[in-house]
Symmetry: C2
Subunit: 271 residues, 2 copies
DNA sequence: CGTAGCCTTGACCGCCCTCAAATTATGTGG
DNA sequence: CCACATAATTTGAGGGCGGTCAAGGCTACG
């Protein structure tokens, strides 16, 4: 069953032991399939349970009755949504599937039992939330500061990294099973302008998105354009001792590296 | 000591018993004063401890070496920053004071002892993080979808509501002890444009910001302009059983209720 | 083979940015 | 209390990124 795959992915990020993994598995309902464009959670309601994504892609949206929809996060294999139920908080956003999705549910009771017995699982969930918050902050940079080209490049870097961690990449490609309009919702630009930006990325030879398939042609160039620093994703290894920065000096180092990488600062976009 | 004030504010939002409050108090170091424009936490480092704000205002920033700074959140009395240390995660953003700030520290060891004995305190901290995430999503709407006028109005509504909960409002006014440039960083616009937007708000008679003092002149008009729905702030009462909606039909109800509920309760900003 | 949705491209417009200068707080020493 | 220096706020003129409206081409799927 692919549920294990999703849990394994979650476990890798959060360092769960195998007994913890199987306990988590037991707490899940059996997987259920949801068709594309279906609402899983609705803003303003209390979710009956949280969802753990097994396959497919879903997205978080904050309602904007009069304007365009604003996507505020993507959910990939191994991601959780509806964790707010565990805290008795109503949803402040909706969650909709973008593609066909397989997901399992975790009820609040199941979570309470689980976290009582395995505090490390509660920590794992908190870590997921912390990383989501970091992603959210990067999205704020995307829509606020970066040019549409840099923002799109950054989003592609993020998605590819996360899909890679979820084991959903093949070589330098991955499937993005949703429309350009969905990407536009994430970057807070119009579908028309997203398309133009996509063309620019294509013509500069950095990446190509076609038929729902993303191909990274020039990873280094893409990262440079996006000023992408994967630290915020806290991938496996991020909390391992390889990065032993405990004080400012280490930070200076890291910053210096990232600055040097920016050598051609505002000129990364070759035509 | 005003530490109690901050903890009481936190406790109100998170429903801490008085014994839990005093345990939390014991876990804090004695308050320390930080001058304005000082860095409390640095991106890329592991924080030695978390900070609980007692007074003043601080802000989270994600580094943008070449561009303008992007503020991704304000910290007011009763807010915590550096919670990532509790999860062994490095900082993905910096925290700087905007005004003179009093704050206490909570070390990771203190937190671990605390959360072992009082799981409800751990829940309270998680709830704070969940609300911060919701605020972050609203900021994404601010910079992505709303006009600069609506965004500024929304930010004022948010700040006033939170300062009200923190007991830092007087009638329809509150102090915002930072510059227009700081507000511009939060809305991802230039100080020049923020100033023009501020003028528009002033001329439309909705709100006035002058000499670091915000005055709400037309609360209803401001909320309408901003499409402000305070639900996402999960103020005291939001998680109380008065709203027992569990499914989609309930959502419609809630929206109606919450609109009705805004009549008196969210009316603290009368002149 | 037809239809519907998605993608692509063109022309024009407005919000916000940039650069620049004037005016007004804020704070400091005399 | 005043003179001065510095920072913050305010206003003007002009330009560009991305939005809007619209039409045509492509793809998937029945």
């Amino acid at each position: 069953m692919t549920v294990q795959l999703a849990i394994a992915r979650l476990a890798r990020n959060a360092q769960l032991s195998s007994s913890e993994q199987s306990a988590l598995l037991d707490a899940c309902t059996s997987p259920k399939r949801y068709e594309a464009r279906r609402e899983l959670l609705r803003e303003g309601t209390r979710a009956p349970a949280a969802f753990l994504l097994i396959s497919g892609v879903a997205a978080r949206f904050v309602g904007n009755p009069d304007g365009r929809a604003q996507c505020v996060g993507y959910l990939l294999r191994g991601d959780l949504c509806g964790k707010r139920t565990f805290l008795s908080l109503p949803m402040d956003h909706s969650v909709r599937t973008l593609s066909t999705v397989d997901a399992v549910s975790i009820t609040r009771d199941a979570y309470d039992r689980l976290s009582g017995t395995f505090p490390n699982i509660a920590r794992a969930f908190q870590r997921l939330s912390a990383v989501e918050a970091a992603v959210s902050r990067q999205w704020l940079l995307n829509v606020g500061q970066r040019s549409s080209l840099a923002a799109l490049a950054h989003l592609f870097c993020e998605l590819f990294s996360r899909l890679e961690a979820a084991g959903e990449t093949v070589q330098n490609t991955c499937r993005l099973p949703f429309t350009q309009a969905d990407l536009a919702d994430a970057l807070a630009i119009t579908p028309v302008h997203l398309n133009r930006t996509l063309m620019k990325l294509r013509k500069s030879g950095l990446a190509v998105l076609r038929h729902g398939q993303l191909s990274i042609l020039d990873a280094e160039g893409l990262r440079t354009t996006a000023r992408f620093d994967p630290l915020y994703l806290s991938g496996p290894g991020a909390q391992l001792p390889q990065l032993t920065l405990t004080a400012s000096p280490g930070a200076e180092e890291r910053r210096a590296i990232s600055l040097r990488r920016e050598d051609p600062p505002r000129r990364p976009l070759i035509v």
